[in-house]
């Protein structure tokens, strides 16, 4: 049933929409009810697994605005099945966890709304089969995650970090959109499944390099690759369920997902492979280096997440069969153990009041269930058998030993990355529970977390163990279809059995060395913490975040500077800028497009008209130099009525009448204010006056020249004849001007009418705020 592809995100969106209401009706237990939405979406998806494991896929299409390429195309294949199952499954658990974690929070309903809206966007993102639709969901995840990171909106720091994540990912998304547009131009379709069949066309296109760079800009910012990695650890400012869900299991994977999704179209070249591998390895190593010095458990986990994103990108870059297999297995394993660890940290934080690893010790006696979950997850993350993480790590080494030449560097990077990651895993998941207790040093007296907060971690941790022992549960069902989708090949049988991997060969040796090294790092953890503050303070000025801050403040500074220059608050300056810009731009275009001096149209130019024009010229001069309001008003009126006469004379009665009415009303309006105005005084010096005169003169010349040329310049066939001919038969009106206004171009007229209304509201606003803007001198007058 293809419709369920749209139903899945829709039910989660709906649940989010009603969450605040539900929370008010049901109270604290709303979490149980709301978790039904993601769980039922998961059930719906699993019910379709037949389509996926057969390699056939499920497609849904709904025409939306097809003229622009945006139609609601959705697809369930191996990759999207895997991702959507992870998002909905972990999502449901997070919703239940939230109920305990945010217990008693006054804005719990709002939190559910954001969380479920994010979840739905994420499901939509992984199911989308249309570039535009994917982009829309992509941006929705950015916006909802902004709201979630900044959920503690009273904290300035949280707001700043949320904004940072939004700006970095949003900027990348803009580049990505440009890449999508190029991609659609090359392939002439917006459907991702069709684009993936046209890989050769894309790769041979001259736009290929540009497409890769732009799309990767989006993927790298979203998946926090170097040099955009800094926003991810900062995003930990959000509540812990957010970190667990967005910043480990789902959103940050969106970038990796996108790269995997477009691999059949873009992958397979050296540019793609090396870019991904190099950025992935650098991200991995940098994250592990910085992670060593972290003392906040959540920060440690954030840096390991960064490292995992690096590994996944690296594996996609290597792109061999083993590498892709390793990538899929690693992705599943990571989602399970990292979500668990974040939730465990959330429970520890909730029950002890701190996340400082140097304080947390010996909690296993008081929080046994949480300790079990944390330990299991840490072992899986360490890559110890028989956990699922072990299979992932083995596959990475298997892919790695196939490399040769300089590419061995990637294997070395992966080795060191895994080694440190194991140390960090033990630090975060095991360290807090062992050792001599020091409960007195903790801000709160610890006790076991409530049911809602331990059930989720334990379920996730145990499933990581279960599919490690029995990998065939997921290999045919999830892993193989996903690998086939990424590689763009037919389904192949995968051998993931644990005993297959435990053979005395190089990968196993590397694995053993990783474990030893990881323990070494774990045991010597205090050494790194001792120097942490000094080291971090030293490298910070050279980091990417410092660069971001410099660029950010430079942009704000520039904005302030140019606002102060342009928006001076003086009417004189505004007029000068507007008229000046118009003159320069139009003048430039005119001079460029003019070839030779155009002929003067002398038809119907007689003595009376010449006299009228001369009179208007005198009036204009008079209005400029006079210092008496009545004289100026009279002169302006003369010009206006003169123009009306010209209109009438040259056969534009509508314009003439309108001009007359406007002139009359202007005079009347002036009469009201003229008595209240102060006498005209000279504020400008001779230089300013000269400058203004020059500008005014050239503006007048340009306009005159434009009008003169307009008769000859014809860019396109004129439509006035067509309009005149169709006016009566089609619109039943003989007055063409009116027919254009109210029928042919009625929408334009409506827009203008709206502008008039907006101007009136502006006047109303000016009237009511008059006192605020009263000049200072006046306010100080006695």
């Amino acid at each position: 049933m293809p419709e369920l592809l749209i139903v899945c995100p829709a039910i989660i969106f709906l649940a989010g929409f009603f969450a605040p209401l539900l929370k008010n009706v049901v109270g604290e237990r709303a979490g149980y009810v709301l978790s039904l939405a993601p769980f039922s979406a998961l059930a719906l998806l699993l019910s379709q697994s037949g389509y996926v494991s057969s390699g056939e896929g499920l497609y849904y299409s709904f025409e939306w605005f097809s003229a622009l390429g945006g139609s609601i195309d959705m697809r369930l294949d191996g990759l999207s099945f895997l991702m959507s199952a992870l998002v909905t499954g972990i999502g449901g658990i997070i919703v239940i966890y939230t109920q305990g974690y945010m217990h008693g929070h006054p804005q719990l309903g709002r939190f559910y709304l954001y969380l479920l809206a994010f979840m739905a966007s994420m499901v939509g993102l992984v199911l989308a089969d249309n570039l535009i639709l994917l982009f829309i969901f992509w941006e929705l995840t950015s916006i909802t995650s902004y709201l979630l990171i900044g959920f503690n909106h009273e904290s300035k720091e949280a707001r700043w970090k949320a904004l940072q994540a939004l700006l970095v990912t949003g900027l990348g998304a803009m580049a990505m959109l440009a890449g999508f547009i190029l991609l659609a131009q090359v392939t002439d379709t917006w459907k991702i499944s069709e684009i993936n069949n046209l890989g050769d066309l894309v790769r041979s296109s001259p736009l290929y390099t540009g497409i890769v760079i732009l799309v990767l800009a989006g993927a790298f910012t979203k998946s926090a690759q170097v040099p955009f990695h800094f926003w991810l650890p900062n995003a930990m400012a959000g509540p812990t369920p957010v970190s667990a869900f967005l910043h480990s299991a789902t959103m940050v994977k969106a970038g990796v997902f996108l790269m995997a999704l477009l691999t059949p179209a873009l992958g397979g070249t050296e540019l793609w492979g090396y870019t991904l591998s190099i950025f992935g390895s650098v991200t991995l190593l940098l994250a592990m280096f910085l992670g060593l010095f972290q003392k906040d458990v959540k920060a440690i986990l954030a840096y390991t997440t960064l490292g995992v994103l690096g590994i996944l990108t690296l594996l996609l870059g290597i792109g061999s069969a083993y590498a892709i297999k390793a990538m899929v297995v690693f992705l599943i394993g990571h989602a399970l153990y990292k979500a668990t660890l974040f939730l465990v940290v959330g429970s520890i934080d909730h029950e002890t009041g701190t996340r400082d690893v140097t304080l947390l010790r010996g909690l296993r006696k008081l929080m046994p269930i949480t300790a079990i979950a944390g330990g299991l997850a840490a072992f899986s993350m360490s890559g110890l058998p028989p956990f699922f993480g072990f299979i992932g790590k083995e596959l990475i080494y298997k892919a790695g030993v196939q490399l040769d030449g300089l590419e061995i560097a990637f294997l070395i990077a992966a080795f060191f990355g895994n080694l440190v990651m194991m140390g960090l895993a033990l630090k975060a998941g095991v360290g807090p529970f062992f050792g001599k207790p020091n409960y007195e040093a903790l801000p709160k007296k610890p006790h076991e977390a409530p049911f809602t907060m331990w059930i989720g971690p334990i379920v996730l941790a145990v499933s990581g163990l279960a599919i490690g022992i029995a990998p065939f549960w997921v290999s045919e069902f999830m892993v193989a279809p996903a690998v086939a989708a990424i590689r763009g090949t037919e389904l192949v049988h995968l051998d993931l059995a644990l005993w297959e991997l435990v053979k005395p060969n190089l990968p196993l040796l590397l694995s053993g060395m990783t474990v030893l090294g990881g323990f070494f790092v774990f045991l010597n953890r205090a050494l790194f913490w001792a120097v942490a503050d000094r080291v971090l303070a030293k490298i910070r000025p050279y980091g990417a975040e410092a660069m971001y801050e410099r660029i950010f403040s430079a942009m704000v500074g520039f904005s302030k500077w140019q606002t102060a220059k342009l928006q001076t608050g003086r009417l004189h300056d505004y007029v000068f800028f507007i008229v000046g810009t118009t003159t320069v731009l139009i003048g430039w275009i005119l001079l460029r497009s003019m070839d030779g001096i155009p002929t003067i149209q002398t038809a119907q130019f007689d003595f009376w008209i010449a006299g009228l024009v001369a009179l208007m010229g005198v009036a204009a001069l008079c209005a400029t130099i006079s210092k008496r309001y009545f004289l100026i008003l009279g002169a302006l009126g003369t010009i206006g009525f003169g123009i009306a006469l010209l209109f009438a004379y040259y056969g534009a009665p509508d314009l003439a009448i309108t001009q007359l009415m406007v002139e009359a009303l202007t005079v009347v309006l002036f009469m009201f204010v003229i008595c209240g105005l102060p006498a005209i005084r000279g504020f400008s010096g001779p230089w300013t006056k000269g400058r203004d005169a020059l500008l005014a003169g050239s503006f007048g010349l340009i306009v005159a020249l434009l009008a003169w040329l307009a008769v000859d310049l014809q860019f396109a066939p004129t439509i006035s004849d067509t309009l005149a001919a169709t006016s009566y038969p089609e619109a039943k009106g003989k007055n063409v001007v009116n027919v254009i206004l109210v029928d042919f171009r009625a929408l334009d007229t409506f827009g203008e009418t709206t502008v008039v209304a907006a101007a009136a509201l502006g006047i109303a606003a000016l009237m009511s705020s008059r006192r605020i803007f009263k000049p200072k001198t006046e306010r100080e007058a006695p």
Binding site: P653, D654, I657, T658, M661, V662, A664, L665, V668, L669, F672, V673, C675, G676, E730, A731, K732, G733, K734, N735, V737, N738, V739, L741, V742, D743, F744, A746, L747, T749, F750, T753, T754, V756, A757, A759, A760, L761, I763, A764, M767, R770, R771, K774, E778, A781
Partner: protein, 159 residues
């Protein structure tokens, strides 16, 4: 101080100017005229009364806030587009005509959505001009410097 002649002129011309403005509005589709000019003319009727008897009198004749008038005009203009949605395949924003009929004195009458749209424009323009004029008049009445200072003083005394 009222100027008798102006006051009487305003009062006498008021209905005729309004009727004239409506005629200009109606004939716009075939002859010079239309909603914009009609609206300006209609506003003139009120302004003339205002010049003679004071703007308060003009405001009273309008019976409602000019901004409300403006809103009604926008609404009429929007609604005139609706029949087009249900009409035949015509793609124009507004193009729905009732069958022509003849009235005594006025001759053949055409009524259609373009006319309704033009009525909307008429009302918006009239509302805009009157709003501007009333506002300026209010300024002129209250903005003399001593008046402001007086207000300030009264405010200061109340504090």
């Amino acid at each position: 101080m009222k100027w008798f002649v102006l006051s009487q002129t305003g009062r006498t011309l008021f209905p005729w100017l309004l009727i004239l403005s409506l005629i200009v509005l109606y004939r716009g589709h075939n002859l010079p005229g239309g909603g914009f000019i009609g609206g300006l003319l209609g506003a003139t009727a009120f302004i003339l009364v205002g010049l003679g008897d004071g703007m308060a009198a003009a405001r009273q004749r309008l019976r409602m806030d000019p901004v409300t008038v403006l809103g009604i005009g926008l609404g009429v203009a929007v609604l005139s587009g609706l029949p087009g949605l249900f009409g035949e395949e015509k793609s124009y924003f507004v193009d729905q005509w009732l069958p022509d009929f003849t009235l005594p004195l006025l001759g053949e009458i055409h009524i259609g959505t373009p006319l309704i749209f033009d009525v909307g424009v008429y009302i918006v323009v009239m509302g805009f001009v009157l709003h501007t004029v009333f506002s300026l008049d209010y300024l002129a009445q209250t903005d003399s410097r001593d008046k402001l200072e007086e207000d300030e003083k009264m405010k200061g005394g109340a504090d």
